[in-house]
């Protein structure tokens, strides 16, 4: 016996991952969210709980049944820097070690610390905002965690001991009032170091029992390396990956933090040094990266511009892509595409999409993003170039920007529902302009309500669940003694996403044609149909008539025009508002994520023939059935035309049948489609190259396709892990059935 080859070790890790996933599916059921790669704790230590995820979605999760957090509040909860920091430390020290002797890296995380929370701090009251938040059914982002990106360079340069010294240094500079914050940070560091050492010791213990000398030697190396990584700054490619993995797994567990930023840029110096020294080969680098990716599905940007506008694509970009390709597991790579970015990276990525059909990677349109972000006040071109794709649909300047991206949403369909009722009352037979006037008033009120929420969050999240993990590797929090949620970082550009654009555009176009032009129905009839959810044969017939009006996405339709106008109106409403007291500005985007289902449930029947409770349209995507040929170019044009243009994304969710890959030039055609969308101002493309028949069969019997991966939105997931309604949504979108 001896150590298996790298290929064999990789296959083992993939097998283990599949087994873990099956176990997770058994333990918690559906997972309409990132497959975050955690490994379940031993069966006797599991407890299943229902909680709200970091993105505000209700989910089921598994926690340790033998870990109890220590409350620091009469309600039994734990809040604020010390409450959170001390419990996270305790949690990490309680966390069982996990060493897979086949992996190049130690560790795995088993449980989300975030899932132990019972409630938010009850002393922090924003009931004055409830009425308006409820009226517009807003996703407010209040007390939402993370959704920004650290700069790992800070940690790589300092190591854990260095970070500790930095915190101690600034603790000494500031007054006592800052002690709780600094103590929270020190407790975090303490927890991390203890966790890493526990794993290192476990590796040593395993090595002593290991009969195979080569494997035993590898385990001893894991021990030695991790004892170093627990304290010193990493010196090699392997150590850098191990360091980043600990920080990332800890963050994922702490509060779901899931972005690594520019991993290729961060790792390149280590790679070049090790290659030059002859201590690393490309094959080994790919294996190490795969060992890292298999343990967490963090968001990683590949390529893109540096602050000077030079392309950062480097050999590590390709190695990361290759590692993901070999794993064929859910992962979240965002490949930058732009005039100055290496096209080979795009080509390799498109080929990978065709070969693997795992919906990986995604594509980031850096030119429009940079240009758009630089339009915001106080943002320089350098800032804009430094911004990184850091999440599902979101961007952040590593270590310098806090924005609650992806946590704050307005469902346009709710706004239209309110506006239409009011417009009909006020004008009896309102024109489209009159409806839109009322709509705009309500949209502005919704934005104003969200702005108040931002200010509340800014002042209060520190007393609830501070960002201690991301604070450690951001610029400002440690230096100033301020949490990132509370003024510690340089930029606050709050994100507001709109959703259901197509539902609203198609509804208005349908009203204009069937009610105002053809006079087929009066407003009284229409409102009755909507209130009764198209009841009766007349209702159903009316629904079909409203639904068959040409839609947004077809190209050149009234609905296309209206969608552009709605987007412009949204941009204006967001840009003209400021957060109270602090005067921060906000940035609009269009994205609905998993809210597509939940938002649909909140809205009654809509005038585009959609039935009450059915899902809303996905982000800025047209409604399914928007065009008989479903032409990707038509969709691309439509989505490019409704971009908000200020640096936040308006993603295109694109499904392609792989049959075109068989054609000569299939890869080139998709590359052109991607580049053309971005040249037109597009910002992000989530692509699924998928076989429609496979999907149909998987929908009928998911058990037969346990390994089918789809890009749900910004994240990819096992198709089988999705809940039945979510699977339906994905299937309808991909097979482009009409809305019903």
């Amino acid at each position: 016996m001896s150590m298996p080859t790298l290929d064999e070790r990789l296959r083992h890790l993939i097998r283990e991952k599949h087994n873990n996933t099956l176990e997770k599916q058994k333990a918690v059921g559906s997972m309409d969210f990132d497959d975050t790669a955690l490994i379940l704790p031993p069966e006797e230590k599991r407890k299943v709980v229902s909680i709200m995820s970091g993105s505000g979605m209700p989910i089921k999760d598994v926690i340790f049944n033998d870990f109890v957090p220590e409350p620091n509040h009469p309600n039994g909860g734990y809040y604020g820097p010390v409450g959170i920091g001390s419990n996270f430390r305790k949690f990490l020290l309680h966390h069982p070690p996990h060493i897979d002797p086949m992996s190049a890296l130690a560790g795995a995380y088993m449980v989300s610390f975030y899932s132990y929370r019972k409630d938010v701090n009850p002393d922090l009251d924003y009931s004055d905002l409830h009425e308006m938040q409820e009226k517009y059914k807003l996703v407010t982002g209040i007390f939402a965690p993370e959704h920004f990106c650290q700069d790992l360079q800070i940690g790589l340069d300092l190591g854990w001991d260095g970070l500790r010294n930095k915190v101690l240094k600034y603790r000494a500079v500031h007054g006592e009032d800052k002690y709780p914050f600094y103590d929270g940070l020190l407790l975090m560091i303490d927890g991390f170091q203890g966790w890493i050492e526990n794993n290192a010791k476990h590796a040593l213990k395993l090595s002593e029992a290991e009969p195979d000398p080569e494997i035993a030697a590898h385990l001893r190396q894991l021990h030695d390396m991790n004892m170093r990584v627990a304290h010193k700054k990493p010196e090699t490619f392997l150590e850098a990956c191990q360091f980043i993995l600990w920080y990332q797994m800890g963050g994922r567990s702490f509060n779901s933090s899931g972005s690594l930023g520019r991993l290729d840029v961060l790792l390149e110096p280590y790679y070049q040094r090790d290659i030059a020294a002859g201590v690393l080969t490309d094959e080994e680098a790919v294996f190490i990266l795969a060992c890292q990716l298999v343990r967490d599905t963090a968001y990683i940007q590949l390529g893109g511009y540096d602050e000077q506008g030079n392309d950062t694509t480097n050999p590590v970009s390709f190695l990361i892509l290759e590692a993901a390709r070999r794993l064929k597991l859910p992962s979240n790579l965002g490949v930058c595409v732009g005039k100055g970015v290496n096209r080979e990276l795009l080509r390799r990525s498109v080929e990978m999409q065709f070969q693997d059909k795992c919906g990986n990677p995604r594509f980031v349109g850096v030119d429009a993003l940079v240009e758009g972000f630089a339009k915001n006040e106080g943002v320089t071109l350098k800032d804009a170039r430094a911004r990184t794709n850091a999440g599902c649909h979101w961007m952040a300047i590593p270590g310098r920007e806090y924005s609650l991206m992806d946590c704050v949403k307005i469902n346009f369909a709710v706004v239209l529902e309110i506006a239409l009722k009011e417009a009909v009352q006020r004008y009896e037979a309102p024109s489209i302009d009159q409806i839109l006037d009322v709509y705009e008033t309500h949209l502005r009120l919704a934005v104003e309500t969200l702005a108040k929420g931002f200010t509340f969050n800014y002042e209060n999240q520190i007393h609830n669940f501070p960002e201690l993990h991301l604070d450690l590797m951001s610029y400002g929090p440690v230096e100033l003694g301020l949490d990132a949620s509370n003024g510690g970082v340089e930029k606050y550009l709050w994100c507001i996403d709109g959703a259901a654009l197509a539902v609203v555009a198609d509804s208005l176009a349908a009203i204009e044609r069937r009610v105002l032009k053809e006079k087929r129905y009066t407003y009284t009839e229409l409102m009755r149909f909507l209130e009764t959810d198209w009841a009766g044969p007349d209702g159903e017939k009316a629904r079909l008539f409203m639904q068959s009006v040409e839609r947004y996405g077809k190209g050149g339709t009234r609905a296309d025009e209206l969608a552009v106008r709605l987007s412009e109106m949204f941009v204006k409403a967001v840009k003209s508002a400021r957060t109270p007291k602090y005067g921060y500005s906000m940035i609009p985007g269009l994205f609905s994520w998993a809210n597509t289902l939940e938002f649909g449930e909140q809205v009654g029947a809509t005038a585009n023939g959609r039935k009450a409770g059915k899902p809303i349209s996905h982000g800025a995507n047209p409604n399914p059935g928007f065009r008989a040929d479903g032409a990707a170019t038509a969709m691309s044009h439509a989505i490019a035309s409704v971009q908000c243009g200020l640096g936040n994304t308006v993603p295109m969710q694109l499904e392609l049948e792989p049959s075109i890959s068989a054609d000569e030039g299939g890869v080139e055609a998709v590359m052109a489609l991607i580049e053309d969308h971005f040249a037109k101002g597009g910002t992000l493309i989530n692509l699924n190259v998928i076989d429609a028949d496979t999907l149909r069969r998987a929908h009928e019997n998911p058990e037969l396709f346990p390994e089918l991966i789809v890009r749900v939105t910004g994240f990819s997931a096992y198709f089988k892990s999705l809940s039945p309604p979510f699977r339906q949504l994905v299937v309808d979108r991909i097979l482009d059935k009409s809305v019903s």
């Binding site: 068959s548 170019t633 030039g665 055609a669």
Partner: protein, 309 residues
């Protein structure tokens, strides 16, 4: 296009513009399907383009039997029966009031009159895609050469915007007009369906005389051609026919490549919803392997690149 131009521009009739098309010439293309064709190929993929007039199209699966169309028809050409909607073509005056009253699109009008400017408006958004992939717009159908004025106007409009135009043709058109059109187009996709005059007439309704003549006129005029051969098992895929086609191709030095198009039954399904009768065709699509074999043989016989799909 301004209103002044619109009145002087020739009108054409088309059924559809398909965007992101990857099968009608090089690169990414938009394919404009002209309505009206002089041939009646038994296997036609696009039988909705047979006639030159707008026609009523039925999609029985989408019909909810609401009766709106029956009430709207001034001629009594439509009846709801236990077998679904019955359409009496001979009574129809093509007012299409019925389609306007159909809530689901089960009844629709196939064919719309457009100017070159109208088409341009629909294909321009993809100009970047044509440029990136060496693609463009393909005039297909139906038979684009059967609407030569409109086709010329369209090619001209495309060229004014730097978009390349391909003509996908059956070659059955008055020679002078046909050549004028071919000289303007950037690429000719020329269908060769058989070699024998009688068989050609039986399968397509017309013999090959004019088609052959036009095929060789292209050679004389030095116009490059891609030949497309539909492969219809049992009808034209015998060795004698295919070697005859190969021989014909070798006599035209301007042919630069060949594509074999395997029969697919979609046309039959489409024909079922149309107002023009077409005899049913019972043919099994050729396998990939069979097409690959035929393509290899064709390439060997002609010395040209031959692909298939």
């Amino acid at each position: 296009m301004g209103a002044e131009n619109a009145v002087t521009q020739p009108l054409g009739i088309i059924t559809n513009i398909q965007r992101f098309s990857l099968h009608d010439g090089p690169g990414v293309r938009s394919t404009v399907f002209f309505k009206g064709c002089p041939l009646r190929c038994l296997w036609c993929h696009n039988p909705e383009t047979y006639t030159f007039q707008p026609a009523l199209s039925q999609d029985a699966l989408r019909c909810t039997a609401c009766g709106g169309c029956v009430a709207a028809c001034p001629q009594g050409a439509l009846k709801l029966t236990e077998y679904g909607l019955q359409y009496n073509v001979s009574l129809c005056i093509r007012c299409f009031a019925c389609a306007g009253e159909c809530p689901t699109g089960a009844l629709s009008v196939l064919g719309r009159e457009v100017t070159a400017g109208d088409v341009l408006g629909e294909v321009l958004p993809d100009k970047g895609m044509y440029e990136r992939t060496g693609g463009g717009v393909t005039l297909s159908g139906g038979e684009a050469a059967a609407q030569p004025k409109f086709a010329l106007a369209l090619i001209d409009a495309l060229h004014q915007h730097g978009i390349r135009a391909a003509l996908d043709t059956c070659g059955y058109a008055e020679s002078e007009t046909f050549l004028r059109l071919c000289r303007e187009a950037d690429l000719i996709l020329f269908d060769l369906k058989h070699i024998d005059n009688a068989a050609h007439k039986r399968l397509t309704g017309k013999d090959m005389t004019l088609i052959k003549r036009n095929f060789f006129l292209l050679s004389r005029e030095q116009i490059p051609v891609q030949v497309r051969v539909p492969v219809i098992p049992g009808l034209n895929d015998d060795d004698q026919t295919l070697s005859g086609i190969a021989e014909l191709i070798t006599k035209n030095p301007k042919v630069d490549s060949i594509v074999l198009l395997g029969y697919h039954p979609l046309g039959g399904a489409k024909a079922a919803g149309l107002d023009e009768e077409r005899p049913a065709l019972s043919v099994t699509p050729p396998s990939k392997k069979r097409l690959a074999d035929l393509a290899r043989t064709m390439a060997a016989r002609t010395g040209l690149s031959c692909t298939f799909r």
